[in-house]
Symmetry: D2
Subunit: 112 residues, 4 copies
């Protein structure tokens, strides 16, 4: 991941764009890009979305990348280590959803 | 990144949750988590959002992780290599925003 | 609609909250509330979402209202007449999707 | 509001499009349109967003209408009276934010 983050940082710094970055505007941008990703699957069923993604991997790939790039930039500007953040959240989720009580159960996915 | 992805996959498979995953519902979840991240900065100015992030790094970290985990799961289920997807998008963006024409200019950020 | 808008305006002005309103922050709030509405249907199929809405009308109603209130406040602060804006957009959509070519066709809904 | 709702319903029914509507997909569409509205103000400060809205009223108006139309369609398909939903939510909010304790205070807007 370190290499990918370095590339994103270099792209930004080559253009001197860090000056425009702040947590709020990056979070706004993540939401906008997340909606563009979601738009690919608008009005499709779960099955149709899987077929569409298989047939249009490059478009899906580009939209995923757009979200990821802004996410890395937000982590970077707030001094958050993305890998550690994910690890810590997985540990928290593991306590919330213990394997023996969660296995194969869709509770997380259907309850509110 | 490979290690982080492996951990997310293990968390999911320990609970046999892959069966609930499809591109549309993962994209929906990314949008929902992106909005929870954005909510941290609601009604704040850019400067206030930077201060808030500095003072509440753990909360920001958790919300960033939630988006990242779903993003990794979407890439995984669609067979997309996240690092390569980011690299390809950066190359495309580099052609769109050449250094000599983009340096220090906020055009991307203020124009529509 | 005029009466509803007047009530929203009165609620806001009774609390002297107009000073916090600007187009960007209201648009951010609309996105956040839209995601909370979407969360009600997360991981559900189209059919399950219809059943859920029928069984939980009050929750759906509250989330719809949250989006609507911010939308009315955004229209109000930008001097936009919401009813006229909707009418104008319907006319534009009518030219884009003529009845004889669109009737019963899901093109808008499945194409990108 | 009744007249506006009738027009939206007529537009939909002239094209026989109700068959594609369900709460989840309409909520997805609301989120997507909300992000397109937000995109108008991306990378702008609160002040710049006000200026932009004043100078580009038609674009803002169209994006607001897109959200509103889907919102009306969601209320329609779930049997929710939008005006009553807004009224009920304002009453609930009035109990949560009593005038004497909320007047001129930005607590709602800056606290989390």
């Amino acid at each position: 991941m370190r290499e990918t983050i370095a590339r994103i940082r270099k792209f930004r710094d080559d253009r001197d764009w860090k000056q425009f970055h702040n947590p709020k505007d990056l979070a706004v941008s993540i939401s906008i890009e997340a909606a563009e990703l979601l738009e690919l699957f608008q009005w499709k069923s779960a099955e149709e979305s899987a077929r569409f993604a298989a047939d249009n991997r490059e478009r899906v790939s580009e939209e995923i990348a757009d979200v990821a790039i802004y996410l890395v930039e937000l982590a970077d500007i707030t001094g958050i280590d993305l890998a550690k953040a994910i690890e810590a959240k997985l540990e928290k989720n593991a306590r919330k959803y213990p394997v023996d009580k969660s296995r194969g159960k869709s509770t997380k996915y259907t309850d509110l």
